[in-house]
Symmetry: C2
Subunit: 409 residues, 2 copies
């Protein structure tokens, strides 16, 4: 019998408890052994909860209870969540978490502590919500040399971009709608500036390439500068603009993690992912490409990943599975994104085709309904971004936007 | 140190050996323990192979070698493959396989033997090729009550259907092209009649619902009756025709596995999967829907799944992981597909709208370029298929085709 403690009874915590008891019989049957939740830690009181006898306000009662072998950390942040996780791992209790900030900032350290104490630190729920990605990446693709990963890792921004394409809404109207529907926070910065996607690509990069990638090392651009016009050009081009978190191995053996809006062509499955759904494409030498798709957030989808990790931790009881990566002292293994060879979309007012071909040679012109006479939009052939930057001023006029085109394989 | 034997040096076998040695250093580092291939079983000689000293023609030398703890069965069929697998499992050696026929026909028995002998029978490569699906379904979605699965499980037929849509090729021209490219066998029956997809949906059904589903219990229709005209109507409707293997739980607690061409709407990710790619959508009470996408066949993609299973078997050394299902004596838990409530596409020559609405009430009419005056195509609202069957004759004319519309959630 494994006993579980759930730290935090917010959206994910209550979802975890709800899902566990809903499907307990099936879960226990599949596992072939007993499993139950013994404690729920929360500073608040829940006198009407059917689980009221499980609530505690004392982390020590959990840490000191030898019956508890698995702890689900679903509090968020890197304050108490970090301290409690560390305490539990040091006692040999496996910790499963949905806390992407915790994994992105403290993953290497916590994995090391887990390994030293014969327990597991699992975080399937931290990236892609309901989507199985952490374990497949680590386990099912173990035979592959992973060359790149690219994903739509944030549902809120994908919802906004979908509304801009399908319903011709402006960015700010779409954001307001996302807030009304509860998809975006009152302060939407973490989503729309790409910080949330950045934490997730850090986790995936660390896992795929074996060294901890810290968020502050990753070039990160959000979607706030995107316009409806850019979106229309992308659609006429046969693709869509998506906020992409990606990482790839570069020719010099470094890796390039990055978050930015990108033109994604219609042949790439990621271009078809709409609303709050996430999708993560993984490129490897044997698999070519595989994609994982599903709900990237939400109460029950996230709880699904937490419960799966709990079941796994229970099965692995006493065995530390080697899902781990090294800590990194510096960012010398991170490539400079300005050196990356990338095609670029440009929208410009008051330039002309002569200047454009003088600067960039042959480009692919795009069109849109209602395109003003003095506006041009085009895609420049792949070149190092720093070269693009140095050539751009020569086209003159007012550059209204430039967006990278996704190319990974 | 775990030693591996590979049974069969055909396409998948040679791919497995090639991939293993290509990425051996990374694999061993990730695993944290040594792993090597000791034997390759094949009746043929390979005097020029870099692995020539590993070849053997004797299964007994493998079965009797206590150093060999993992066997990769990549021979195919249920003759020797079945006998050898059984022998190895009975000796406590874990077996990993890409052999869908073996799993679909003998899975329950082999899983039982594995469990009785403290070893594992793993078959990630049997379904979806490179796509991680078996383990995610079993492990990552462990907290879910799975309600349905629907997938494009055969790359050859998806290639043919893609050519029919994108290049307006007829079925037989597209088949010839698939054969020329090596995607389809000289005798393409297993692919185009849906038998291959059927074996795969049997495996997924057994895993998701816990009871062995035998192929002969599954209603199975291939794509040989599809016409270019049907394909055009589907496209104008905003979707695509796909060969879908699916299973769902029915209201009476039975399950309904089935293989047939279906109209798939544009909102379903499966409609966007083209060429030889596969995609498998899983519906669960917590995840809502998740999809797994990638190459469903091919030398290295399949080898990727085999190598992942080898690594897993090595890690689990001595532990039987409970991926299992019960055998079934009869098919009383399989629902009758004629009772299933399903919308239906119909193409008819020489009928009229009066007769159609008299038979089916309001229907949704579809159009296509070059539609003859005496041809009508329409979608009938969902009703039990047996009711549809009994009403159909009343529309008169010549029914040129009728195809189910995919509806699972």
């Amino acid at each position: 019998m494994s006993k579980v403690a759930v730290l935090g009874y917010g959206v994910v915590g209550s979802g975890t408890v709800e899902l566990f008891y809903k499907n307990k019989e099936k879960i226990v049957k599949k596992m072939g052994r007993e499993l139950d939740i013994k404690y729920i830690l929360d500073i608040r009181d829940f006198p009407d909860s059917p689980y009221k006898e499980k609530f505690t306000k004392s982390i020590d009662s959990i840490v000191d209870d030898p019956e508890v072998t698995i702890v689900a950390e679903v509090m968020g942040g890197v304050g108490d969540a970090y301290n409690y996780t560390k305490k539990c791992l040091e006692k040999g209790k496996s910790v499963v978490t949905s806390n992407k900030e915790l994994v992105a900032k403290k993953g290497a350290e916590l994995l090391k502590i887990a390994s030293e104490h014969g327990c597991n630190f699992l975080f399937e729920a931290s990236t892609g919500g309901a989507i199985p990605i952490i374990r497949p990446l680590h386990q099912c693709l173990a035979g592959n040399d992973i060359t790149a990963i690219a994903g739509i890792l944030n549902g809120t921004t994908n919802f906004i971009l979908t509304k801009m394409i399908n319903e011709q809404m402006s960015f700010s109207d779409a954001l307001t709608m996302a807030q009304k529907l509860g998809y975006a926070e009152k302060d939407p910065t973490a989503d729309i500036e790409g910080h949330d996607a950045c934490r997730k690509i850090c986790i995936l990069s660390s896992l795929a390439f074996g060294k901890h990638v810290y968020p502050e090392w990753v070039h990160c651009e959000g979607i706030t500068k995107l316009t409806l016009e850019d979106s229309c050009y992308a659609e006429n081009w046969g693709g869509a603009i998506k906020l992409i978190g990606s990482v790839k191995r570069t020719e010099d053996g470094k890796i390039l993690p990055m978050v930015r809006p990108a033109f994604v062509c219609g042949g790439n499955q990621l271009s078809h992912i709409s609303d709050v759904f996430n999708g993560i494409m993984v490129y490897g030498d044997a698999v070519d490409e595989v994609m994982f798709y599903g709900r990237g957030a939400g109460k029950l989808p996230t709880a699904s990943a937490i419960v799966a990790d709990i079941v796994d931790a229970a099965k692995m009881n006493g065995t530390s599975i080697s899902q781990t990566w090294e800590d990194s002292d510096d960012n010398s293994f991170i490539a400079d994104y300005k050196e990356d060879v990338v095609p670029m979309y440009v929208r410009v007012k008051g330039s002309d085709k002569g200047k454009i071909s003088a600067a960039f040679g042959d480009v692919e012109y795009l069109t849109r309904d209602g395109q003003p006479d003095d506006e041009l939009a085009f895609i420049v052939t792949a070149m190092p971004e720093k070269d693009f930057d140095s050539k751009l001023p020569a086209i003159g006029g007012e550059v209204l936007g430039n967006i990278r085109v996704l190319e990974l394989d």
